[in-house]
């Protein structure tokens, strides 16, 4: 049945390539040793519906380097871009290659919590610092806290609890909850419920790659809640907001976290006008660092920065302050850790310092989507909901 004959025609393309390939892979490792620089493995999703969030993260960090004219604490910074394709197994393979082959000194970035969970152990156990600029799952905030791990964003639960508090303050009694079915989604529901004491009418979990919400919107219409709480980052949020408006449900207040932000507003446009969100940062915050960051970011990249960009900009500033404190000595891990803990830099959010579990302690705001005079859309702070808030898991962390 298998008619493959034994005679071949061409020579062996495969066999000849063997020696050439062996040579290529281990030559690269040696180049970095001589130069005095710092290599950053920048993990940002560039494939699939969530590509826009990865682009924001990358541009935010690069903007930080621009303001530091390419140096972190005096060392020339070299970026090793890693596209995790929102697939944990791809992230693990590429991060391992960056650690072992490219010998990166720090791994920065990671938009999604499932990707962070996949690369946490390979990075931290190789003695390399992992600085998440967005994903902040509760798994690493409490008992699972790790000395080599820092996050410049927040603990996922915190932001959602802010929206829970806002819903409670607004007097909503029956709320419909809808989130994607992965760790951060489950964190969102837990965070929201921690401060919202009303009735959760229904809890719907949709696959991460869902694009068509017609079935879920029909359920919302049927159950007529006082408000909707949802957490749909990137492409998910774009489709949901448009279909939500199209289905004529805009009358039901749209309380969200990371769904209507500057990464998705260009695609949502008018559909998102007046929708609510909660965050620790918004483009219209009045402080020197933020005004300079937003102005220069829009000048160099031509779009309004979202929290993904702001938080990775802060990460660049954090690294710069820490490396300067240790005089460029990357080998001394403990000294570098202390320097990072000090967080001696001017954050775009105004006040910023690390808690015991290396998660930030910061203020949180209720925001609303508004249209700027120049026709662009952005979220704007309405009122401060929590001040210098410590995440609920910090107490459980006994970092050695």
């Amino acid at each position: 049945m298998i008619g493959i004959g034994r005679r071949g025609v061409l020579g062996a393309a495969g066999a000849l390539a063997l020696p050439a390939v062996l040579g290529a892979t281990q030559g690269a490792g040696r180049a970095r040793a001589q130069g005095r620089g710092v290599k950053i493995g920048l993990v940002a999703v560039q494939t699939g519906p969530q590509a826009a969030l990865g682009t924001q993260l990358r541009d935010g960090f690069l903007q930080g380097l621009k303001h530091l004219d390419g140096k972190l604490g005096g060392l020339a910074a070299e970026i090793v871009p890693i596209d995790d394709e929102l697939r944990p197994e791809v992230a693990v393979t590429k991060v391992r290659a960056a650690l072992e082959r490219d010998k990166v000194d720090v791994v920065v970035g990671v938009v999604f919590s499932n990707i962070l969970a996949a690369i946490m152990r390979p990075v931290t156990e190789s003695g390399t610092f992992l600085i998440s600029t967005n994903a902040g799952p509760s798994t690493f905030a409490g008992r699972g806290c790790n000395p080599n791990f820092f996050t410049t964003s927040y603990n996922n639960d915190q932001v959602h609890s802010v929206m829970g508090q806002a819903a409670q303050d607004a007097g909503h009694k029956r709320v419909f909850v809808m989130v994607p079915n992965y760790q951060a989604g489950r964190d969102a529901v837990a965070g929201f419920k921690s401060r919202f004491k009303g009735e959760v009418v229904d809890e719907v979990y949709v696959p991460l790659t869902q694009l068509d919400f017609s079935a879920e919107l029909a359920k919302i219409a049927a159950s007529k809640p006082d408000a909707l709480f949802t957490f749909m980052p990137g492409g998910l949020g774009v489709n949901l907001v448009r279909q939500y408006r199209q289905a004529g449900l805009a009358g039901i207040p749209f309380l969200s976290t990371f769904t209507v932000d500057e990464a998705t507003l260009p695609a949502q446009q008018e559909a998102a006008l007046g929708f609510f969100s909660a965050a620790s940062w918004a483009p219209n915050m009045e402080n020197a660092a933020n005004t300079r960051f937003v102005r220069d970011f829009e000048a160099s990249y031509g779009y309004v920065p979202a929290s993904y960009a702001a938080q990775s900009y802060d990460a660049a500033m954090l690294l710069n302050s820490a490396i300067r404190k240790v005089g460029g000595n990357l080998a001394g891990k403990d000294a570098l850790r202390e320097a990072l803990r000090a967080a001696d830099f001017q954050s775009v959010r105004g006040s910023f310092k690390f808690g015991a579990n290396h998660y930030p302690v910061q203020d949180f705001w209720l925001c609303q989507v508004a249209k700027r005079p120049d026709g662009k859309f952005q979220t704007e702070t309405l009122r401060r909901v929590l001040e210098a808030d410590v995440d609920p898991w910090a107490a459980e962390c006994r970092m050695r």
């Binding site: 489950r186 949709v206 017609s214 079935a215 029909a218 049927a222």
Partner: protein, 306 residues
Amino acid sequence: MSFGLLLVQGLNGLQFGVLLFLVAAGLTLVFGVMDFINLAHGVQYMLGAYLGASLASLTGSFWGGLLLALPATLASGLVLEWLVFRHLYDRDHLSQVLATFGVILFLNEAVKLAWGTAPLQMAPPELLAGGITLLPGLQYPAYRLAILAAGLATAGLLWLLVERTRVGALVRAGATNAAMVAALGVDIRRLFMLVFGFGAMLAGFAGVMAAPILSVEPGMGDGVLILAFVVIVIGGIGSVRGAFVAALLVGLVESLGRSLLPDLLRLVMAASPARQAGAAIGSMLVYAVMALILAVRPRGLFPVRG
């Protein structure tokens, strides 16, 4: 699970089934007539979506995109047939599977290079943009009904072409015994090119129609390809009628399974695991149905092969 929701999911199922049929039709004909397994058929669907989306933005209209994308996918199908596939007709199935697997790798990456990794957006035509109220308080997007109608119309046209025309007779004869057709003096090479190009165009057409509702991104063809193979095996290899019936069946099982199961499991489990298990079992249902049919009627529901 209200009746309204059932109706919505049912229509979604039929609409996905029709899309599957357009992809499966070309696949089963190529397979039936030329005994050729073409894993790269899913890529034609993807190319259709990409060409449709970019040509629509170029010409500024959905219809422009559609009308230009069809000949383009026909051309791409014929180019692939000339470059790679015609060398494979006399080879065994293992070689065909591997060579076409190589074509998938190449084209999925080439699309990434040409159009980038972020998904393209394609708006449905304005006149079909709104929703239609099927029942009081239940809106169903008009565009999806349009897909259903277009798909059924194409199926009817294809049925007429295959059952009622001379070329159709040749194709059906080829599906049962290609050697005999060649022996009767028919230029079998030209028939293969015709069947191949037509199959590619059908898949491209499905791609263009799917672009506005599904995400146009690299690798979007692979999932549809697997389901198309399930369809032609259930329907009976080489049978267009079988492909039509099986496509609607798979479409319904796929969408109803995904939506009903999570709600059924909710009675037993908590919301999040129920959703995950429901979605997984839903997507497994289709393969269970295929394995069952293969075990009972190995030649499918409407066997054609002599």
